[in-house]
């Protein structure tokens, strides 16, 4: 049975602001990829952690496919080991394609969906809001590890607070 009850509480954040928040972070991550020397992007590592390109592959495997599952009606598979070329230009192109796809998919997202529960990639349960928050938080987390990689190479990372 469909409920027609209206919530009267003011918005904490609007869907448009949440998208802008996400894309703002994605712009910082793009600049972080750009800041890496070609070789270090694929090979530099600290303490046995993954090189930064592997983290970027994880982020790419989550963002667009995750939002596609949220806004679509069929399950997506999580594939962070996708076929790729080993050059930064290739990754920046994937990044930009995902940026466009996210903007397009977002238009299909209905305001009432954010509090609905969904299972993503066959295993991760939570509200749509919590899923998207996780995408963003996880990106901030891995990008910050990229910042340490850059610092260890003597390279100044992009400004964290600059989201344009």
């Amino acid at each position: 049975m469909e409920t027609t009850a209206k919530q009267t509480k003011p918005q904490v954040v609007s869907p448009a602001e949440l998208l802008e928040h996400w894309q703002g972070h994605r712009r910082v991550t793009r600049r972080t990829i750009e800041a890496f020397p070609e070789d270090a992007f694929f090979n530099h590592s600290i303490g046995g952690m993954r090189p930064f390109y592997k983290m970027v592959m994880e982020l790419l495997a989550i963002a667009e496919p995750g939002l596609r599952e949220i806004t679509g009606d069929k399950p997506e598979s999580f594939d962070e080991e996708f076929k790729h070329e080993k050059n930064k230009e290739y990754f920046l192109k994937l990044w930009d394609d995902a940026t466009e796809a996210i903007n397009t998919l977002w238009e299909k997202l209905k305001p009432e969906q954010f509090q609905e529960n969904i299972t993503l990639f066959g295993q991760y349960e939570g509200t749509v809001y919590s899923q998207i928050s996780y995408f963003i938080d996880n990106e901030i987390h891995h990008r910050a590890q990229g910042y340490v990689y850059l610092r260890s190479l003597g390279i100044e990372p992009p400004l964290f607070y600059m989201r344009d």
Copy 2:
């Protein structure tokens, strides 16, 4: 003039969920502090970056004072160089005190405030939502740098997705 117009849009996230999201991250950061050996917390560094305790001082200088300014009526100063003892137990106590204070201050936060603009610490402008988001994002960012410090010391960091 007070407006009595009611918004009818469904919530993307409720104030209670946003608090839980923040405190969940703060629990992970607490476990990150705990994971550091006493000496490394104050001295370990990569690429000329601050030791982790300095980042924690920044986080402590932002969270409770920032929320106090949001929920109060007087300006707060940003002081990340406060007097402190150089032992982890002392910092964990400050962390726990801030956890309690945040929960108490949050009760004063009105739902309609999240979209209001505020200037914090005399210089940072934005909506209350964007300010609190920044507190959380900045904490994720610096904690992730602490994760790399831990890995470089051969120590397994806390699970990122475990927020209990």
